[in-house]
């Protein structure tokens, strides 16, 4: 079961690129889109088979090494937490690809586009399954480079170029800083394998080198995760990218950064070491994100700031250092990937039809595009944390975990922020639903595939909100995996 997944890893972007070139030559360009959709759907299927294989595995952990065993070879370590992330990534990747079929119809260079999109998904899966820093870094860069190119995909416009350049510089500074941190870890331990590193480092008294590593990792992962004050690229890059790419970036890419950060922090340090720092970052991030989102007139930019705020909520879970809090974080990652993905896709449909991103000009669109508006409402209410939609459950767990960990201030800040955030979500909903459309504003319902994708996601969100137990169960075992799996992984590697 592990082999085909790895094959998928290696070859899915190549498959897309080859069929793309072939399709362009033979004059059947739609074939390429279809292949891209199939490839992204296969991703979901493979993660599902991996999940089944993992359930069958004795220790609930699968280890697979390329090029010899550790410390030399690159190894994949597949556990519940990785599956959880990969599942979120592939499912959103699938939705984004299907959506692109209509959305990118009038663009050229689509072979590059689909290749990069599938490389992005593969990169995120690689980060989710990485068993050592070597693998992590390579897939991290793969994900990064694909996303830089995707943000500035429409290279004829100023916005994408500027946003893409900022993102590229800040992102690559982040990953090079991360690389330096990895070098220091290697210097201390002489290995890059997570299990071996953990046996050497964990529980050691802290000295200056560890602080340096910690700071380097916070910056390295934090730039991609958009932790304030390293977030400045995000409000530029997310709105300027094509909407399906925005959905991928906001929905899952920043969470992949968060996932890697969580993994590495718990791998190297005791929770008590980083709790306070992360808590400060959490408070900063959510407050600033919500505050900046309040006054935005560009709806995609508002969503970008809201993503920053949501990252802040997720950081709360990490800062508790408890399994319970981590479970909240993971659950919020999945929920947020669906909700923010849906928000960007459905707003993308509106932008596609109306050609404007200015909230004030969207009056009366609700009547012209009823289904899309319904999807917008579902996602926005979910992001605001209305009971009955999945975002509520995960926020509830997060804030409750903060209370449980004795971080009363953080919980109060979170609840206040959550209440504040309703203000800007409601504003968009009200504008969409109320009033007469402006002169000359005409729009019709978006193409069938775009509407279909958004409605399917809306239904998924409501179903997960009304019956979250299965996902909560998976998230729960995933968060336990993070705490336990180091020892299991050590057991597998060293035996």
């Amino acid at each position: 079961m592990v082999i085909p997944t790895l094959m998928y890893f290696m070859f899915s972007p190549m498959l897309v690129v080859l069929t793309g070139l072939l399709a362009e030559r033979t004059g059947q360009p739609k074939l390429r889109d279809v292949v891209a959709v199939i490839v992204s759907a296969l991703g979901v299927v493979f993660v599902w088979t991996l999940y089944n294989a993992l359930q069958a595995a004795p220790d609930k952990i699968l280890v697979f090494s390329l090029g010899g065993g550790p410390p030399l070879g690159a190894s994949f370590e597949i556990d519940m937490m990785g599956i959880f992330m990969a599942f979120s990534a592939t499912i959103l990747g699938f939705f984004a690809t299907v959506y692109s079929y209509n959305y990118m119809e009038y663009d050229t260079r689509l072979t590059e586009y689909y290749t990069l999109l599938s490389a992005l998904v593969v990169g995120m899966m690689g980060v989710a399954f990485a068993g050592d820093f070597f693998t992590l870094f390579i897939f991290w860069e793969m994900m990064g480079i694909a996303s830089y190119a995707l943000v500035s995909f429409r290279k004829d416009l100023w916005g994408p170029i500027e946003a893409g350049f900022k993102y590229m510089v800040m992102g690559s500074v982040g990953s090079t800083v991360l690389f330096f941190g990895i070098a220091l870890v290697y210097g201390i331990t002489g290995t890059l394998n997570f299990a071996q590193i953990s046996t050497v480092i964990h529980g050691q008294p802290m000295n200056l080198w560890y602080y340096l590593i910690f700071a380097l990792f916070i910056i390295g992962f934090g730039v991609k995760t958009a932790i304030v004050p390293m977030h400045t690229w995000l409000p530029d890059a997310h709105p300027e990218a094509p909407s399906p790419v925005s959905a991928m970036l906001s929905g899952i890419l920043i969470e992949t950064g968060l996932y890697a950060l969580t993994r590495v922090l718990f791998l190297l340090f005791e929770p008590s070491f980083f709790k306070l720092t992360i808590a400060v970052f959490a408070a900063l991030t959510m407050t600033l994100g919500n505050m900046m989102a309040l006054r935005q007139d560009d709806v995609k930019r508002m969503l970008a700031y809201s993503s920053i705020a949501q990252v802040g909520y997720m950081l709360i879970g990490i800062s508790t250092g408890l399994t319970y809090g981590l479970m909240g974080t993971l659950l919020h990652v999945l929920n947020h990937s669906l909700m923010k993905g849906l928000a960007f896709l459905s707003i993308g449909s509106i932008v596609y039809e109306t050609g404007t991103r200015d909230i004030n000009k969207l009056q009366g669109v609700g009547k012209m595009m009823p289904f899309t508006t319904l999807a917008v409402i579902v996602s926005f209410l979910g992001l605001g944390g209305v009971p009955g939609i999945n975002g509520f459950i995960s926020k509830f767990i997060l804030f409750n975990a903060a209370l449980g960990a004795g971080m009363l201030i953080l919980a109060i800040l979170g609840v206040l922020n959550s209440a504040l955030s309703m203000a800007y979500y409601l504003r968009v909903i009200i504008v969409l639903l109320s009033g007469e459309a402006e002169e000359g504003m005409t729009a019709k319902e978006a193409p069938i595939l775009m509407v279909g994708v958004t409605l399917v996601m809306a239904v998924l969100i409501i179903v997960l909100g009304l019956y979250p137990n299965p996902v909560v169960g998976i998230a729960s075992s995933a968060s336990e995996a993070l705490i336990d799996n180091i020892s299991k992984y050590i057991g597998v590697i060293l035996s």
Partner: protein, 782 residues
């Protein structure tokens, strides 16, 4: 058992909330087929829901209720008990769900006539049915979270239906008449949503705290385990009282109690049938229900665990209820919009219910009596207030005016409506033997049973309010139906619009409602002779039964229903009669016969005039709230913030830009002094060029900012401190709120986040340095 089997075993509670929700989803489909089919479909679904709810009555009568039925695990919280989807079928929920379902059904029938011909009925029926489903879900659910879902659902429907005429045509505006400010329906809907939202934030906070200590949200488990988790919570001083008051925030918002009551009068902008159902009979009672539902927890806390703080739950809600009761009744005396008078009356009557529930915690004996009073008044008020609103709807439908000064003399035009409304008004005023008399009497009795000095004080307020109730009841009946027709009606007649009686489909449902509360009233009379038939005693027994089952065994043992002596009962009735006599005397002379001219009486004296103005302006509360929370933020947003800005935010901005500059300088010095000479030989000119550019940039931009900007800021800050302190802090202190701060912060962050790439990189470097230095200093201190 599989979930399906569990549902099949006792399907009624499930069906009663699922059918309307399914119906709501089907409405747009039916609307596509045929409009008649859609309207009758809505009636059909509402009828099915009522039948399903009524099917639970046998178990209520027999006393063998099913209790907590758990369907399947909804969420498994790792640190707590699993939370199951389910229904809680006990007398409390059966009584309220029947009231809700039955009145909903009647009002749906009424709406078929009332809303006939409206072009947007798809939306109307969707929200209406969705509301019924969510309301029943709220009442029947077995845990707080599920209740909260229903709670938000009804809020959403309420928002959608208040703003139903969202095109904001002038004749739908509310308020006035000019010069008084008027509001469009969509504004009113928003106001309702925001104000109740404030309450929701509070209740969410309370639920967090409760869950953190109890580890469960299931009502049954919460109450059963209360003796274990309440002491833990009580070990933090003030936390139990805080939780109680936060928890009450939700009901206070939803049930329009002071200080969150201002949305309900404005909620009358929706269609009248909506006002009758949502804003009089059912949704606003959700708060009362929730207070009653959670009261066992605090009962245990107060009387079993002897935690003094837990009693705050009861004291706070009693105080709020009594004050709101008086506040709203006083405003109903002067209002000129028919529906708004009824809305104030609703707020005032809910105040009675809250007072009753609050009194239940004043002494151990009063618990069941107070609970009974609250729930009994809820049921009887739902019947007569729905009838009143529907009658008002008929009148407004016929006249197309909302103001009572445009009415008058309608008795001969609309005799049936007059009769029905008169009966409902009599019940509202509390004239025996109608149901309003018995239920209001129950509130007085519970105060007498409680017997503490505070309870006596609240009782006095209640009696005064009863007198006021009678007075304003006479006022609106007289102004609407008695005496001469107004100019407005004459005008209408002249233009050929004949004022017509309401059609059968509209007065029929009202007649059923009126019949019901007359029967309840007569049963109350019969109950004096044979207690087994008295509705009050019936509810008391059922609630006793319910509470006994849900309380832990050792607490339930100690619970007993006090026997209310004849003396107490007579005292209660006497108080009612005194109130009726006073209120009736004033109302009769001022309004019924109009022997005394009320307007001249008000104008005669400066004090009376100012009191009238005070009441007319709604105690200035509405305008105060607007001034503080709406206009304050727009107009005076800068107010105190300017001071804050110069004292605090500017310094942050200055510090960050300062340190950015300083850091740049260090690097620059490093480059020119160390780096450049060292590598001077091989350096390409580009580097030197870069250094020069930096220097020019520094001279032109950085230095002025450093040398001029910052000192100015300091001087200005000092000035602001002395000059603005008085005006800004004291005069405008109230106007400063979170949004103003947020706006200001927004601009500051905006200023920092210049969009220049190199600054962003420098922030990253600063974070790096701060992290390293922070840890090093921590290490050194250790």
């Amino acid at each position: 058992m599989s979930p399906l089997e569990i549902i099949m075993e006792y399907p009624w509670p499930w069906l009663s909330w699922m059918i309307p929700v399914v119906g709501a989803v089907l409405i747009p489909v039916l609307g596509k087929i045929d409009h008649k089919l859609r309207d009758y479909g809505a009636v059909f679904f509402a009828a099915l829901a009522a039948v399903a709810a009524a099917s639970m009555i046998p178990s209520l009568l027999s006393g063998h209720t099913h209790g907590d039925i758990r369907l399947l695990t909804w969420i498994t919280f790792p640190n707590g008990a699993p939370l199951e989807i389910g229904v809680l079928v006990d007398p409390l929920s059966i009584i309220i769900s029947n009231v809700v379902a039955f009145i909903s059904f009647l009002i749906v029938v009424y709406s078929v006539g009332y809303m006939h011909g409206d072009p947007n009925l798809d939306r109307f029926w969707f929200f209406f049915l969705f509301f019924i489903g969510n309301m029943l879900l709220l009442v029947l659910s077995n845990n707080l979270l599920q209740t909260l879902i229903g709670w938000e659902g009804v809020g959403l429907c309420s928002y959608g239906l208040i703003g139903y005429y969202y095109r904001d045509a002038k004749e739908r505006w509310l308020g006035g008449p000019p010069p008084t400010k008027m509001f469009p329906p969509s504004h009113c809907g928003m106001k309702a949503f925001v104000v109740t939202g404030v309450g929701d934030v509070f209740i969410l906070g309370a639920i967090f705290i409760i869950f953190n200590y109890a580890g469960t949200l299931n009502y049954h488990d919460l109450i059963q385990t209360a003796p274990e988790w309440l002491p833990k919570m009580a070990s933090v001083p003030g936390l139990v009282a805080l939780t109680a008051i936060l928890f009450l925030g939700g009901p206070i918002g939803k049930s329009a109690q002071f200080p969150l009551h201002e949305w309900l009068p404005e909620a009358m902008a929706g269609p009248t049938s909506v006002s009758a159902l949502i804003h009089a009979a059912t949704m606003v009672k959700a708060g009362v229900y929730l207070v009653a539902r959670m009261s066992p927890v605090f009962y245990i806390g107060t009387w079993f665990l002897h935690i003094a703080e837990a009693q705050w739950y009861f004291i706070a809600i009693a105080l709020v209820g009594a004050f709101t009761c008086f506040l709203a009744a006083s405003q109903a005396l002067v209002s000129v919009e028919l529906k708004k008078i009824l809305a104030y009356s609703t707020v005032s009557q809910i105040g009675y219910m809250m007072l009753g529930l609050g009194l239940s915690g004043f002494s151990e004996e009063a618990y069941i009596a107070g609970l009974t009073a609250g729930i009994f008044h809820l049921a009887s008020h739902a019947l007569f207030k729905a009838a009143l609103f529907l009658c008002a709807g008929s009148v407004i439908h016929a006249l197309e005016s909302i103001y009572i000064f445009n009415m008058g003399g309608l008795k001969k035009h609309m005799p049936k409506t007059y009769l029905l409304m008169l009966l409902a008004t009599i019940s509202l005023s509390g004239i025996p033997p109608f149901s309003g008399f018995w239920s209001k009497d129950a509130v007085f009795l519970s105060a007498l049973v409680a017997g503490t000095p505070l309870a006596m004080g609240l009782l006095a307020v209640g009696v005064i309010c009863a007198a006021m109730t009678f007075a304003y009841s006479i006022r609106f009946i007289s102004k609407t139906f008695l005496h001469e027709e107004s100019e407005y009606i004459h005008d209408m007649e002249k233009h050929g619009h004949h004022v017509h009686e309401a059609p059968t489909v509209m007065w029929g449902p009202i007649a059923i409602l009126v019949g019901l509360f007359i029967i309840i009233g007569l049963l109350g009379l019969v109950g004096l002779v044979s207690p087994s038939l008295s509705p009050e005693i019936f509810i008391e027994e059922r609630l006793h039964h319910a509470v006994e089952h849900i309380l832990p065994y050792e607490v339930a043992e100690a619970l007993h229903v006090p026997h209310i002596g004849a003396g107490t009962k007579i005292t209660g009735a006497l108080l009612s009669f005194v109130a009726l006599a006073v209120g009736g005397f004033l109302g009769y002379n001022f309004y019924w016969t109009r022997k005394w001219d009320s307007w001249a009486w008000v104008q005669a004296n400066g004090l009376r005039k100012s009191i009238h103005t005070f009441l007319w302006n709604r105690w200035y509360m509405n305008s105060t709230f607007y001034a503080i929370f709406v206009y304050g933020l727009i107009d005076f947003g800068k107010g105190l913030f300017n001071t804050l800005e110069s004292l605090f935010f500017d310094k942050i901005t200055a510090f960050v830009s300062d340190s950015t500059i300083a850091f740049g300088r260090v690097l620059h010095v490093f480059e020119t002094k160390v780096y450049d000479p060292a590598l001077n030989v091989g350096i390409p000119t580009a580097f030197i060029q870069g250094g020069r550019v930096l220097k020019v940039f520094e001279n032109r931009v950085y230095d002025p900012a450093l040398n001029v900007g910052i000192p100015t800021a300091f001087i200005w800050g000092g000035e602001a401190l002395f000059n603005d302190l008085e005006t800004n802090v004291f005069d405008r202190g109230l106007n400063e709120g979170i949004p103003a701060t947020a706006t200001g912060l927004y601009h500051h962050v905006k200023k920092l986040q210049t969009g220049v790439l190199s600054y962003n990189i420098i922030y990253i470097i600063l974070v790096f340095l701060i992290l390293i230095l922070g840890f090093m200093s921590r290490q050194i201190w250790r």
